[in-house]
Amino acid sequence: MQWTSWSAFFDMGGYAFYVWFSFGLTALCVVWEVISLHKRSKTALRLSKILAQG
């Protein structure tokens, strides 16, 4: 293990902003993409249902 404490871990040797921004943005993109695809699928199914029943 590289870290003496949690605060040292979060500080990333003074590069906290650069490191956590990189990883955070990546995580955000993943979450956004999955949620938006989930919504898109629901919308498509709902529209087809309206077509099927209309």
Binding site: G13, Y15, Y18, E33, R46, L51, A52
Partner: protein, 249 residues
């Protein structure tokens, strides 16, 4: 035993198959990501030159790899769709483009976040950075072109041509650090040469790349299912499916 692959080339039969595959790829992506992040932050040692900032490599390099791999896969599916006039292949190309664009953007932004503390600049117009930016424009151009043409078959053909012409950019990105004098460092891994980086760093990078790869397959399958539903909205199979899933109106 022989499998009739053509059976799966119709959206109607591929839709449920893709649905069964998604959880497996999502599971693999999660496992690889947990292992990769553990090595990235807990096992890999501090770099003697760059300190902790180098840890950006564990998202930057896999994202950059995926940006190129996805483009080649997208162009391959597009070419297949063009050659065989196969609608599922064209849908696969369309499903890969947004994920490829996201990884390209991530490669550029994380590169910028790495460049600022190490080079002192967010951006430089060197060959590696510029060609990766062109890759982003190619993805966005492909998406915009496809969505601007109403007839899906014509949109597929136009998109496929753009994707194929743009393939020339991928080797330019890959070899840019060799062909030109770039501020960007050389390849992290060279074919046929022993890696110069620590084994744990390499392992972390490879695990993160595998996680991104499995993630890409999972979201591309999710998106291709959406595209199938949207394009075949008025077909009987989509109507029957939408009624049976019980979505609220």
């Amino acid at each position: 035993m022989s499998i009739n692959w053509f059976k799966y080339s119709s959206p109607q039969t591929f839709y449920p198959l893709a649905g069964k595959m998604i959880p497996w790829f999502a599971f693999l992506a999660t496992i690889f990501a947990i292992a990769g992040l553990y090595i990235s932050f807990a096992v890999a040692p501090t770099d003697f030159q760059q300190g902790e900032a180098y840890r950006i490599i564990f998202v930057h390099v896999p994202a950059a790899w995926m940006s190129m791999v996805i483009y080649i896969a997208m162009a391959g599916w597009a070419a297949l769709g063009l050659a065989l006039n196969a609608r599922l292949s064209a849908m696969m190309a369309q499903a890969l483009a947004p994920t490829g664009a996201i990884f390209t953007l991530l490669a550029l932004v994380t590169g910028s976040l790495w460049g600022k503390p190490m080079w002192g600049a967010w951006w430089v117009w060197d060959a590696r950075l510029t060609s990766e930016l062109i890759l982003l424009f190619l993805y966005l151009g492909f998406i915009a072109l496809q969505s601007s043409i109403d007839d899906p078959r014509r949109a597929d053909r136009a998109g496929a041509l753009l994707a194929l012409v743009g393939v020339v950019n991928v080797p330019i990105i890959y070899f840019s650090v060799k062909w030109w004098n770039t501020l960007h460092q050389g390849s992290s891994i060279n074919m046929g040469a022993a890696p110069k980086m620590a084994a744990t760093m390499l392992m972390g990078m490879l695990l993160m790349a595998l996680a991104f790869w499995m993630y890409t397959v999972a979201v591309a399958l999710m998106r291709v299912r959406c595209i199938m539903l949207e394009r075949e909205r008025s077909s009987d199979w989509v109507k029957a499916l939408s009624v049976s899933t019980g979505e609220k109106l």
